[in-house]
């Protein structure tokens, strides 16, 4: 056997495994962010593409660097943007809280079911996760419309005299986000709660703790990683949500994902859209890094 040749083959295999996905992600995930960052410092022009080049390659390499902070200044001067950021954070945070309050007892109840029922219940949580997100949001449009099932029901029961405006309101946005992201909350909570040993609960009650104290002292702290992971999984994507506010929210529903989309497609102001994205990323840097930490610690026991 030719040792040198085979050593080279082993090295090639190693490089192949590591660098094929790595280079792909560098090219199509990291570089794009750098470019967004770069374009957020460019001037908009009416052209294709609609921004001034940051580096003028044709001339002397990198000598001509043109930076403008106009886009960021523009964002800060116009109330619209920072109100949108604030509102997005608020909507995402409140929806996350709702998801947690609904998801926690559900996840807990699933862990307490017997094995067969548990598998079916879990499958029913996972199923919406696989079915079209867009269509599930769309399903609420029919439910919430003026002549939709909810209004009909409320009228029939006599709670209201005339149909309420439910669709195209902030309420609909909250509902939509909680609805679509609920499975993302339940699954990590279930994973954390399922690992809890029932004998610990018994030991605690044996030592004289009331069920409520057992929950506060034992269950809650031991499921903390699941709570954090679930909250981040809901909060981060929800903050940039586009489809839900567009379909369910009113035309005045100022969420930043929608602003970015409009800035880009309707105003065709790419540099401002990039600046919006850059600031959004800065808002999300800490939650994302937190998520990655929990991803690393939780990733190893997903399949247990």
């Amino acid at each position: 056997m030719n040792t040198r040749y085979s050593e080279m083959a082993d090295k090639a295999w190693r490089s192949f495994v590591i660098y094929l996905p790595y280079v792909w992600l560098l090219l199509f995930f990291l570089t794009p962010f750098l470019i967004v960052f770069k374009i957020s410092f460019s001037d908009p022009v009416i052209a294709q593409p609609p921004f001034t080049p940051l580096f003028d390659w044709a001339r002397s390499g990198l000598s001509a660097v043109y930076i403008t902070f106009d886009n960021f200044l523009f964002l800060f001067e116009d109330d619209l943007y920072w109100l949108s950021y604030l509102k997005s954070v608020r909507v995402a945070a409140f929806s996350t809280l709702c998801c947690l309050l609904i998801g926690y007892p559900m996840a807990y109840a699933i862990t307490r079911a017997d094995t067969t029922a548990r598998n079916i219940l879990l499958l029913l949580v996972i199923l919406p996760f696989w079915t079209s997100f867009l269509l599930r949001v769309y399903a609420w449009m029919g439910m919430l419309s003026t002549h939709g099932l909810i209004n009909k029901g409320l009228l029939w029961m006599g709670f209201i005299d005339e149909p309420m405006k439910l669709l195209y309101t902030d309420f609909a946005v909250y509902l939509g986000i909680v609805y679509t992201y609920l499975p993302f909350m339940i699954l990590p909570l279930y994973a954390a709660l399922q690992k809890l040993d029932l004998s610990i609960h018994e030991a605690a009650s044996d030592l004289g703790a009331t069920p409520f104290r057992v929950f506060i002292d034992i269950t809650l702290p031991m499921s903390a990683t699941g709570i954090i992971a679930g909250c981040l999984l809901v909060f981060i994507p929800a903050i940039g949500e586009y489809v839900i506010p567009t379909l369910l929210g009113g035309s005045d529903s100022l969420m930043i994902g929608r602003q970015l989309f409009n800035e880009f497609f309707e105003n065709r102001d790419w540099p401002v859209a990039s600046a919006v994205a850059t600031i959004l990323l800065f808002i999300l840097v800490i939650p994302i890094m937190l998520f990655q930490r929990y991803q690393i610690t939780a990733g190893t026991n997903v399949n247990e």
């Binding site: 056997m1 040792t3 085979s6 082993d10």
Partner: protein, 400 residues
């Protein structure tokens, strides 16, 4: 393993064991035939060390193993024995030192280029391949041609008594059968050295004892050098031609089973291999026929002369429980030490009884007595006043 399997297997096995017994009882003789001091070592381990994040797990180990030996590395958990084996197999790269096998330096060679195969405690039988495919795997990787693979695999399966199990999947096999698949899979490659990491630990006691003889038999037939790692001292003594006792990354003693058991060189070995009564003291006088030790508990005790000891040295006298006699009467002789005490504990094991005798100074001495004669009642009972005694040649003087 179910009963029917055992039934079909016992007949050939018994024959084998009978043949083997001669071999096994003459373990030292086997060693004598196979290596003399002039022979070239087959495996040479030179100054081998391995550190993990600043913790030295294997610490400058030197060892020569000769062709055809069945060498055991014996130690407690965490002593570095498995790491040492993995260094030999190539799964770990040494921090310093090198490994030479059959004159070729193995350092830096990956596992798949070493003429060494390993069998691990969990057996690591591929769950998605049949028995046949498992055993053929190594040959296929070596590019052996198909008809030859078939022949060698079926030969090897018959050697480990698994003929007829070719198309079984691992989950259809018992623990003992899996162990033999793993063994066949490693041996079919005819490695220069077979490394076995706790090969029998996962088997129950009866099967373990039987498999020990089977392993020795197979090793004898194939003449492959075996290096076995184990924490079980009885297993090591029964299997091995030589034993290295390992503690904290170092070899504390290397020698034949008899040597290691009867002539431990330090307290760790005396204590780890078998059980020992240990009496601390200082050398008070050196005479021609004996050495006088002033022990903490019993005052002056005679011991056999030990080279390298001087008056005033701190020493430990080690005496094995089975070398001590227990009796109601005092025994007095020029070469006997006799101590009075009270039986505080006794354990009946059928073939032998273990007594714990507490002396006047509250020291506890353990004695193991063979129950040579049938008795309906134990001769000695708790609270009995007794004398324990041993010959001066039964004790060993340890300096460390």
């Amino acid at each position: 393993m179910d009963a029917s399997e055992i039934g079909t297997m016992t007949i050939p096995m018994n024959e084998k064991i009978d043949n083997l017994l001669d071999d096994a009882t003459t373990g030292n003789a086997r060693l004598g035939n196979r290596h003399d001091s002039n022979a070239q070592p087959f495996i040479r381990i030179e100054n081998l060390s391995k550190e993990f994040d600043g913790v030295t797990v294997v610490d400058s180990v030197n060892l020569d193993i000769y062709r055809g030996e069945l060498f055991a590395i014996l130690g407690g958990s965490g002593c570095g024995k498995t790491t040492l084996l993995r260094l030999l197999a190539g799964f770990e790269t040494p921090s310093t030192g090198r490994v030479i096998i059959d004159g070729i330096d193995m350092t830096g060679l990956p596992p798949y280029q070493r003429p060494v195969n390993m069998m691990v405690q969990s057996y690591a039988v591929f769950p998605h391949m049949t028995v046949e495919k498992n055993v053929a795997y190594g040959l296929k990787k070596d590019g052996v041609d198909k008809t030859q693979i078939g022949e060698q695999v079926s030969q090897m399966l018959s050697l480990v008594q698994l003929s007829g199990y070719e198309t079984r999947k691992p989950h259809q096999l018992s623990g003992g059968q899996l162990q033999r698949v793993a063994l066949a899979r490693a041996l079919v490659k005819k490695p220069k050295v077979l490394l076995l990491d706790e090969p029998l630990a996962a088997l129950d006691k009866k099967l373990r004892e039987r498999t020990q003889f089977e392993l020795m038999n197979i090793q004898d037939q194939l003449g492959i050098t075996f290096v076995v790692v184990t924490h079980d001292q009885e297993e090591a003594m029964n299997l091995a031609t030589r034993i290295a006792v390992m503690d904290d990354g170092r070899f504390v003693q290397t020698g034949t089973p008899t040597h290691v058991y009867e002539y431990p060189t330090n307290r760790f070995v005396a204590d780890f291999v078998g059980t020992t009564n240990m009496f601390e003291g200082t050398v008070s006088r050196i005479a021609d026929e004996h050495l006088l030790i002033d022990t903490v508990d019993f005052g002056d005790i005679k011991a056999s002369p030990t080279p390298g000891t001087n008056v005033g040295n701190q020493v430990w006298l080690a005496v094995r429980p089975e070398k001590i006699t227990i009796s109601k009467e005092s025994i007095t002789s020029e070469t006997t030490t006799c101590i009075k005490g009270v039986v505080t504990d006794l354990g009946y094991y059928g073939n032998r009884t273990i007594y714990r005798v507490t002396t006047e100074t509250s020291a506890v001495i353990e004695i193991s007595a063979q129950n040579q004669f049938r008795a309906s009642e134990p001769i000695l009972d708790s609270e009995d006043e007794v004398f324990v005694s041993w010959d001066l040649n039964s004790g060993i003087v340890l300096k460390e």
